[in-house]
């Protein structure tokens, strides 16, 4: 009851924090996609580079988010951005690299060699091969990587409230510091619901983007 009252009274705030949360994750994962997909494609050309890049990305993902924020504070302070929006976005961008790079790399590498040979045989240049055949076929798996990144980082972004980035984590951190279970629970539930909705929304997008003749 108390919780419902709280939700009712603070709906505006909750919606505003949700919007903040979404925009933070969207910007960060968006940037991660723009960087991770080309990296994933590039490393299909060189096995050694692929091993190194995937290894580094796996290491990054094992760093606890709090530690990562802590590491960035002194670095970004030099440009006056030690806390707030920028470190939050950078952290999520880094965490997103592994699922996106790995899925892109795997998807491109797993394109049926016969199709790759057919593409070469009809006289496609390497870039045409990517654009006309390899990337369209890899889209379902790449999108699955993006989905993983989004769902995972909606949780991570909740912690970024501690460095003043805003988002639904604000409710959680206040709930803890003020010993107010209503805020804590409202924040936690909102984060979970957001994750589930984002997952479904991206699944829908994934199906939309998958070429018709390709099974998702």
């Amino acid at each position: 009851m108390e919780l419902l009252d709280f939700l009712n009274d603070n709906l505006d705030l909750i919606l505003q924090l949700t919007a903040e949360h979404i925009s933070l994750v969207a910007v960060a994962v968006g940037l991660a996609t723009v960087t991770g997909v080309p990296i994933g494609i590039a490393i299909t050309q060189n096995e050694r580079a692929a091993r190194i890049v995937l290894y580094v990305a796996s290491i990054i993902i094992t760093i606890p988010s709090i530690a990562l924020f802590g590491l960035m504070i002194p670095l970004l302070s030099t440009i006056g951005q030690g806390i707030g929006y920028l470190p939050a976005v950078i952290a999520v961008l880094l965490y997103s690299q592994l699922p996106i790079i790995r899925n892109t790399y795997t998807a491109i590498n797993n394109v049926n060699p016969a199709l790759r040979e057919a593409a070469r045989g009809v006289g496609m240049s390497p870039l045409q091969r990517l654009r006309m055949v390899e990337v369209p076929l890899a889209i379902p798996v790449i999108m699955a990587g993006v989905r993983t990144a989004v769902v995972m980082n909606i949780g991570v972004m909740a912690i970024a409230a501690y460095i003043g980035a805003g988002g639904l984590g604000v409710l959680i951190s206040r709930g803890i510091s003020q010993s107010d279970p209503r805020q804590l629970i409202a924040g936690a539930i909102a984060v979970s619901i957001l994750a589930v909705i984002a997952d479904y929304a991206l699944l829908w997008l994934q199906r939309r983007l998958t070429p018709k003749g390709v099974s998702a």
């Binding site: 049926n112 199709l115 040979e117 057919a118 070469r120 009809v122 006289g123 006309m132 003749g213």
Partner: protein, 386 residues
């Protein structure tokens, strides 16, 4: 025309170098089908793929229509060579239309032109455009996909086609159908084709010339008939099989072994029939024709010897006939079915043009074994004295 000059491929592997193709020299004349034939791993695919440089040669050169392709841009080279792979390799993200139009698009054709071309090609490979143009590859059967694969290779009308076991993935019945369709198409298109197969029957059927490979070397390059009649060594002989003489039957047409034949008319007496049977040394019977010179039956020797009367009242019916364009395999099969040693040949109007005998077939197949005799001897192509 495709000319291969000392083409060699050495793969560097962890276990040392592997010579997959060893100084291959050969020439495929314009408009002909050359089948590269041999056991698995003998270098057929490697040789084929060096022509469109899917595999870069270690040394040697490839000429297409007289032009050395060594210096050419590979992407452009490939757009001018039709390529059909065994795994078919249609792009699953593209419709059938888009698959067929892929080379024309790369070449910058406008959309009306490549769409019309896709439609035309689907018709050529016996698929209904209104049904298939907008479908995706996975909605097609293997045989249909294979046809689309051939259509895609033909799209920009390349003078040269490379086909690597193109009909390998299809069941035997459909394979025969597709082979026949392809040969019919080739009669019109007259592409210069290099075709990989490991199946001697397919090679004999499709090829103008067969190149037998063994361990990266070209061991014999001949017409199917010469290859079957004169295998160069024990390897080729065992590869073409014990029944190689029978395989040759398919390569020879009735017109090549046709002989003149004596006939009677229904109005002739049985006495006349007997006289002609004796005169021509026929053992069992003589053919009877109507006024239009169409065969209608036989008068048997025993009847002619024991009975008086007209042929028209004492004959028995026709068993089977052949046409000059039939191959001897079909003829042999008909002879076995009907327990007969010879068959009349008729033209499209059913008019008698000659006969084909077991002895004539045996003789023809045997003649080539005495090579010198072959050239001196006149071919068994006699006109019938009408």
């Amino acid at each position: 025309m495709i000319k291969i000059d000392n083409l060699t491929k050495i793969f560097e592997t962890p276990n040392g170098p592997v010579t997959a193709a060893d100084h291959i020299n050969m020439e495929v004349p314009e408009g002909e089908i050359c089948v590269l034939l041999g056991p698995s791993g003998c270098g057929k695919t490697t040789t084929l793929k060096m022509i469109n440089r899917i595999i870069p040669p270690s040394s040697g050169r490839v000429f297409i229509n007289g032009e050395d392709t060594t210096g050419l841009n590979t992407v452009e080279l490939r757009r001018n060579i039709g390529y059909v792979i065994q795994q078919i390799g249609l792009f699953p993200n593209m419709t059938i239309e888009e698959n067929i139009a892929v080379v024309p698009k790369l070449l910058g054709w406008d959309s009306n032109r490549y769409k019309a071309r896709a439609k035309e090609l689907l018709e050529l490979v016996a698929l209904d455009p209104s049904v298939f143009l907008k479908r995706y590859p996975r909605e097609l059967s293997g045989g249909q996909q294979q046809r689309v694969g051939v259509a895609r290779a033909l799209a920009a009308d390349p003078p040269v086609m490379l086909m690597d076991e193109p009909f390998g993935a299809i069941d035997p019945i459909n394979r025969e159908v597709i082979q026949d369709e392809f040969l019919k198409m080739q009669q019109e298109l007259r592409k210069t084709i290099m075709f990989v197969s490991h199946d001697i029957d397919e090679a004999v059927k499709m090829a103008n010339r067969i190149a037998i490979f063994r361990g990266g070397r070209l061991v014999q390059y001949d017409t199917p008939d010469d290859l079957l009649a004169h295998p160069k060594d024990d390897f080729v002989e065992s590869f073409v099989g014990d029944d190689r003489a029978l395989k040759r039957l398919r390569l020879v047409q009735v017109s090549q072994v046709m002989e003149p034949v004596a006939v009677v008319k229904p109005s002739d007496s049985l006495q006349t029939a007997l006289a002609r049977i004796e005169e021509h040394g026929y053992s069992r019977a003589i053919l009877m024709v109507n006024e239009k010179h169409q065969p209608i039956g036989y008068v048997s020797r025993s009847v002619a010897q024991t009975t008086k009367g007209l042929c028209g009242d004492h004959y028995f019916g026709l068993k089977a006939t052949t046409s000059p364009s039939d191959d001897l395999r079909k003829v042999a099969s008909l002879m076995f079915n009907h327990d007969t040693t010879w068959l009349p040949c008729t033209d499209e109007q059913g008019v008698l043009v000659g006969r084909v005998t077991q002895q004539g077939i045996t003789h023809y197949l045997g003649a080539t074994y005495q090579r010198d005799a072959l050239n001196a001897q006149s071919p068994h192509l006699h006109q019938v004295n009408a």
